[in-house]
Subunit: 455 residues, 2 copies
């Protein structure tokens, strides 16, 4: 073994004190959110009924590179951060690769993922504004769990709309959220107009993040003292998640390591966007170059088969329009697709960076993802979430390419979380009953044909 420890931990002094806003260094800024009624950029005042004030400021801020992290959020971060940057010595050995593999492991907290980084920030700003509670949606359940924890910590009410197929596959996720005091409703539900509309149009649907967002937004704007919060996609979320990348950057620099390839799974883009932000910043400023790869499921391929266009952020078409790689807001991934990464669109920051050729994207099928997950579990000990395992799959593939070529590349990937609540999916895989699903061109064309004609 070499001089780099298995796990690079930072001291509390080395933790970032500010988030990094990559938009400040983008030449082509991400396109603004548009009001679907007027076709004009959403203003602060238009967003106020939905979001907390301070979070709107962060959403609209394309200028400030550094946003100080409030003291109470820093204090909370110290309960579970820094997260370890781990050298995958055992995986390297099992693969027989000359590549060096590192992963930034965000699963070492009860929410089981990186989502807590933004949840605690959003809950803090809601509390600071004197709100009573927040509503949200959750797909795989990680964001809902994280938000429940954050709300319990600050004494806020928390109402979660959980995508129905996850609600059914993950009964224990619900109990974790309840233990933290949240209420959890399977979505689509008949508790909102948006939910009733979706149920009417798609009876028997297992739901999607897009549906659940519509319901959560409606519940927020119709309940006094409540606002809506979102765990991915938005630029404010990527800002908070920059803590992942900043820690990774500091840890690598501490040992003089320069990554060649940085890999992250991409659903709405929160982990990938956070992980790559300081590295992308260097790239944008011409200080360094990296290959950056977004990995998405073949069953929900926004980057690789979507269209870069304005679309609704939600299925119920009540939210603003965002310019992003999208499969169409009516797209609902097949129920056989396990775990998260089920969103029809993609962060507008990442979409712009991808459109500008600053990063790559690839898609992988789920049986090969679970094979990578199992290999990783058996060699590195950690049982990964299905979402995280998309990044593992591609990290392994890149390391195997190095075995062929003899190149000693340095690969860094984001391990977003743990799979303790995904055992139904693992059981299917263990029993050989898992199948793959790739939407046909006709299916995609159908949902893309309904894109709004704006922008």
């Amino acid at each position: 073994m070499e001089n780099v420890p298995y796990k690079i931990y930072l001291t509390e002094e080395e933790l970032p004190k500010s988030w990094y806003n990559v938009r400040a260094h983008m030449k082509n800024k991400p396109a603004p959110l548009l009001n679907p009624g007027t076709g004009k950029p959403m203003t602060f005042d238009e967003l106020r009924p939905v979001f907390c004030d301070e979070l709107i400021r962060q959403e609209l801020d394309n200028d400030h590179a550094e946003i100080p992290i409030p003291k109470p959020v820093l204090d909370f971060y110290r309960m579970y951060r820094p997260s370890p940057l781990v050298r995958a010595y055992f995986l390297e050995k099992a693969l027989g690769t000359p590549a060096h593999i590192y992963y930034k492991f965000e699963g070492n907290n009860t929410s089981g993922s990186h989502k807590l980084n933004s949840a605690i920030a959003q809950a803090y700003y809601a509390k600071q504004q004197g709100l009573k509670g927040v509503t949200t949606e959750t797909g795989a359940g990680q964001w809902g769990t994280a938000l429940s924890m954050a709300c319990a910590f600050f004494g806020l009410e928390c109402r979660v709309f959980m995508v129905k197929c996850s609600y059914e596959q993950k009964p224990f996720r619900r109990e974790v959220m309840r233990t933290y005091g949240a209420t959890v409703t399977p979505s689509p539900s008949d508790t909102t107009q948006a939910g009733r509309n979706i149920l009417k149009e798609f009876p028997g649907t297992t739901g999607s993040l897009g549906c659940a967002i519509s319901e959560a937004v409606e519940a927020a704007v119709t309940t006094p003292g409540f606002r809506y919060v979102l765990g991915s996609v938005l630029s404010q979320v990527l800002l908070h998640q920059s803590v992942i990348g900043l820690e990774t950057h500091t840890a690598l620099r501490k040992y003089g390591i320069k990554p060649d390839i940085i890999i992250g799974c991409a659903g709405g883009g929160s982990n990938l966007g956070g992980l790559i932000s300081p590295f992308m910043g260097e790239k944008l400023r011409g200080e360094a170059d990296y290959r950056i790869i977004a990995v998405e499921p073949a069953s929900c391929p926004s980057f690789t088969r979507g269209r870069y266009a304005y679309d609704f952020c939600d299925t119920g078409r009540v939210c603003p329009l965002a310019k992003m790689y999208t499969l169409g807001c009516g797209f609902i991934p097949s129920a056989n697709h396990a775990g998260g990464l089920r969103y029809h669109g993609m962060s507008s920051i990442l979409s712009q960076l991808y459109a500008d050729g600053l990063m790559e994207a690839t898609s992988v099928e789920q049986t090969s993802v679970f094979a990578a997950a199992r290999e990783f579990a058996r060699t590195e000990g950690i049982l990964p979430a299905p979402e995280s395992s998309h990044a593992i799959r591609v990290a392994i593939d890149e390391a195997l390419k190095c075995r062929e070529s003899g190149e000693k590349k340095t690969i860094v990937f984001g391990l977003t979380g743990t799979g303790y609540f995904d055992m139904t999916a693992y059981q299917k895989f263990n029993d050989g009953e898992m199948s793959d699903y790739i939407p046909t061109d006709a299916e995609l064309e159908k949902s893309l044909s309904k894109l709004p004609q704006i922008g």
Copy 2:
């Protein structure tokens, strides 16, 4: 906040290189295992059909204070150790106590508990001996998961007998073990003579650790190339678990902190025994004094209501006799008791220390344990295992006493693991449907009346 960080991490250089064998410093050594046939101490040769050779040597070693940790085990430890020693600032604040509370958190690995510390050592020695595989039992499932991980790492077969009530309450535990390649059988089963006997005597039983041990031992001695391994109770296990206490001791010393009270939950005693070992060593050598408290469930109260006597280690009466605090090897805790800590006996090391007045014991009821668990989850973020929460309950109670008295005591407790697979129990608690159970004197007398007449 003060100068002590939220989490005290050690560098890899500060990690222990040897385990600490507290028996070397005990004036009254733990009583030896006896052969139930002859009533004489078990010899190395008598133990060989059941246990790995090197583990027998460790089991019988009352002399060497330091046992070097083999290099491959040290390497594996570095994947998930050091575990953090956390200052519970937020819990202290919520309780309004002047006490300082620290917890040593062992749940930051996929097995979810401290059990991995011994599992990887035992798997290593089995591999080194050229064995094909191992058998074991598991109660709450943490030990089985840990052993599955360890066996996957070294390429050993792993056969787990899982206490039936846990098997039914925790279907996902089974899948984690299967993902790591283990086979899992609910116990009592009809695959062994011991299991068939128990099923005949107690039809419809939900099982106990004692039953599962009988089955696993039988499976080991009747399968060529297999040995039996155990996750608690044995002195070798406490030896491996001393890594918990050694890290805690180093971390506290690093910041000049001297604990007043050390608290751990006690089922078979593996976590408590490991946590306290270096502190008990100081106490035995007259170098320092500490209050040490074992916490057990009121439904399975070996220390507080058991008898210090020779008893079988298993329900099927096929194992050697150990002198320990026991409820009688036929004692099976009520099915309403959640989680682990279901063993009828107790580590013979801890039993001797308790008999010698070197530590205290107390018992707590499970609804109050889950109330403490929920409070801890909401303030400190971590969702604790029910077992761990026994220690949390008493740590909170001691901190509240400090609030009354104004004393600024330093309390350290062992947080053995996470509760992700215990959501069925949490759900009962969340729904107000959890009940307490305390065995009657008559029930205990009944099982104690069947103690073997030896020693």
